[in-house]
Amino acid sequence: MSDLAPFAARQRGLRGTLGWIWTVLGPFLGLILITVLFAWMTRETGSFLTLYNWRTIAVQTVVVGTAALGMTAIMIAGAIDLSVGSTVALVTVVVAMLVKRIDPALPGDLRSAGLALVVAMVLGVLVGGLCGAINGSLVAGLRVVPFIVTLGSYKVYRGLAKWLASSTTVYVPAESKAWWLSRILAPEPEPRWLMIAPGAWALVALAAALAIVLRYSLFGRHVYAVGSNESTARLCGVNVPKLKILVYALAGLATGLAGVLQFIYMSATGDPTTADGLELKVIAAVVIGGGSLSGGEGSVLGTLIGCLIMSVLDNGCVHAGIPNPTQDVIIGVIIVAAVTLDRIRRGGS
């Protein structure tokens, strides 16, 4: 947000020389504390603080993270999207079915290169964009609150996914899976110098692009304006309906990508029941990262941290060998604690 500078100045005065470390690390505070906590809890096995495990966490965060980027834009614009989970499921089904259709029709060398996969995946992303655009058009056109519109499409897209898949799982035959497919989300990437899985890099790139767009582009400033005060935005000549459609469509592309990644994560499976409840997880990640249900607030970095906090919690609890019920309790407490901490750090309300 734009008022970071004076704010930082004020804070710096308060904290003296530790100032800039704090400024840089501040947003990561909750994440760091949780990491330390789990590192301490798993100090005997040490399996949590390994490079391999962090690569695993990266892979486990990719799908939620990608969807959460879209949701960040939507929530900054003061709207919401309950249909992300359903869209992801629909996209996995569509991609799987497309691969099954396209691949057998291709000549041999294109098959082994995985052309069908590429085409299907691109189309999958577009299907996500289409779902988003439909949401946006309904929100803008019917002027019904986004909660209801996307509650409707949450049902509709899920129904479509089941209907397309005849209510069951769509498997891509082994011979249609190109060699590179499983590498995209492999915790240990090849080539080695990639450090983290290519899919995780895609998330990072997308996040950077979105952050730049939100901060520096006209579109981004308009998104903040609409979320902060829709009447003001209209008064200033922002085409609010068009903007909403656009935000939903772009977010839909991100959700579509999340769907494609989910398809890859599930070893090229189209599952109409997958990603159930993803919407809550994604919204939670955005809110943990400082977004607001009433719009005008939220940041890409915050959302990514929110996603990581959730992933680390899930992963860490398994490493610490905490029984299932206790896990729930701990995760619940830590979510509240992390956000409380962040609120205090930012100085009240």
Partner: protein, 494 residues
């Protein structure tokens, strides 16, 4: 002294809003609190009402220390306050808002009869039986909301009453009624603090004054013994030249023509021609339909019949976007609800209608934009830490200036100004009048709604009066007097 505030200080982060301010009011006294925008008046009063707590200093009420931990306690001890930023719950009815926090109950249930009586009485005192107690605040205009707010304070039966710019959205008729009531309350032994930027008004209503400047007490005394010039000097730190400077200008070609324009709800068809190099004023009572007319021109209010023709542009379907493209700029009277996105920075707010001026290929040049905004802040004397400060952190008057800065930044050709100087101090008012004059002299056109008649008479070339949705013919300002304007404004209503 019924109320004393001693050495009160308050900082918001790096901003020192109050720096050792002292103030005292006796029972049966009305004290005017005067100062530039951002001087700290509202902050001081918020401390008194318990809404915020001072960093240091002490308060005494009726000889006892008074340290309200919240608005609840302050209210209970007899401090009632009308806030500058209207504090009403939009989803509740007029009646519920007036009685909010002072409900009369039996076994936890509301005594509706008593409420109805109290509200009817308060609205009757204010001579506004036209405001329906069951109407939702959401459906009311700003003026009516201000009346509701005053009614709330009337019901409170307080020992100390604070009015923070209560007349900024009232017409002079409503204001006069308010003064009568305030006088009556004072005579009953209430201590009253009255904040206003209208100096002549403070003379009418108050006996003593305190001037704040940059968070310090700059002067205080008895109004009868102090000249206006002395007060302004204490306030601004320099003597003010002329309030209404005239610029040389001559009306040119028409830029905006309304023919039989009929907005939905109430207003009757209006005809009006606005020429280049002209400042045209719209007078009228609250609810007369001036705001509606301006919004209809700007494309924010549905139109049932008639046309708006803007010079050199084909008449296309109106939307704010199209109007901006045609060079029209609009400043809303409701800066909190519509004028500003309070969570965004000053620079975002000031440039939102013309962001493309600082962009290439859809991306902003942030430093370029910041420079431009800093320039605007300088010229309008907006008091803030910088362009990146949140609009919500500004004082009321400074927020209004940000809304005006947007029109300047947009380089509009036609200015539609709805109560443009609402809540702005005298010094800055002079600057805004000068700004309006400059724009007119450069061949731009201004259509200005105001309920402050001296301002209309001083600034405008022509004035039209609206009454119950009917727009009168526009006549040269010299042909009008305050009296004749009020006559036309009320005639339709009477």
């Amino acid at each position: 002294m019924l109320l004393e505030m001693r050495d009160v200080s308050k900082s918001f982060g790096a901003t020192r809003a109050l720096d050792g301010v002292s103030l005292a009011v006796a029972a049966g006294e009305t004290r005017a609190l005067i100062g530039e925008n951002g001087a700290g008046k509202s902050t001081l009063m918020k401390i008194l009402s318990g809404a915020i707590r001072p960093d240091s200093g002490s308060l005494w009420l009726g000889g006892e220390p008074f340290a309200p931990r919240g608005p609840r306690e302050a209210r209970r001890k007899g401090v009632a306050m009308i806030y500058q930023e209207l504090a009403l719950a939009p989803d509740l009815t007029v009646e519920a808002n007036v009685m909010l926090g002072q409900e009369q109950t039996r076994l936890g249930f509301i005594r509706r009869r008593d409420h109805q009586r109290a509200v009817a009485q308060a609205l009757g005192l204010l001579e506004h039986p036209d405001i329906h107690p069951r109407a939702k605040i959401r459906d009311l205009g700003l003026g009516a909301r201000q009346v509701v707010e005053i009614a709330r304070a009337l019901v409170a039966q307080a020992r100390v009453l604070v009015l923070d710019e209560p007349t900024s959205t009232l017409t002079s008729r409503d204001a006069e009624r308010l003064f009568t009531i305030v006088d009556r309350l004072r005579e009953r032994g209430m201590a009253i603090i009255y904040i206003s930027h209208f100096l002549e008004e403070t003379r009418r209503i108050a006996q003593t004054y305190t001037v704040l400047r940059d968070g310090r007490t700059a002067a205080h005394g008895t109004l009868a013994e102090t000249s206006e010039r002395a007060i302004i000097t204490a306030m601004v730190g320099r003597a003010l030249s002329e309030l209404f400077p005239r610029t040389p200008r001559a009306p040119g070609t028409p830029v905006l023509e309304l023919s039989e324009l009929a907005p939905r709800h109430g207003n009757r068809p209006a005809n009006l021609t606005l020429r280049r190099g002209e400042v045209l004023g719209l007078a009228g009572l609250v609810g007369a339909g001036r705001t509606t007319l301006l919004r209809a021109i700007y494309g924010l209010h549905p139109v049932v019949a008639g046309t708006v023709r803007v010079a050199a542009f084909p008449d296309r379907a109106a939307s704010p976007r199209a109007r901006i493209a045609q060079g029209i700029g609009f400043a809303s009277e409701d800066r909190k609800g519509e004028g500003l996105a309070l969570d965004l920075s000053i620079e975002d707010n000031a440039t939102l209608s013309a962001l493309e001026r600082h962009s290439r290929l859809g991306f902003l040049n942030l430093s370029d934009r910041r420079r431009a905004v800093a320039g605007l802040m300088e010229s309008l004397r907006i008091k803030a830490r910088g362009p990146r400060d949140r609009a919500a952190n500004l004082s009321g008057g400074n927020q209004q200036k940000v809304a005006l800065a947007r029109l300047l930044h947009q380089q509009a050709d036609v200015f539609l100004l709805d109560e443009p100087t609402r809540g702005i101090d005298v010094g800055s008012k002079a600057e805004i009048y000068a700004m309006i004059g400059r724009q007119a002299a450069q061949g731009r056109a201004v259509l200005m709604v105001s309920s402050y008649l001296p301002e209309l008479l001083g600034v405008c070339d022509r004035i039209a009066v609206m009454s119950r949705g009917l727009l009168s013919e526009a006549r040269p300002a010299a042909d009008w007097t305050e009296h004749s304007i009020m006559e036309v404004a009320t005639r339709g209503a009477g």
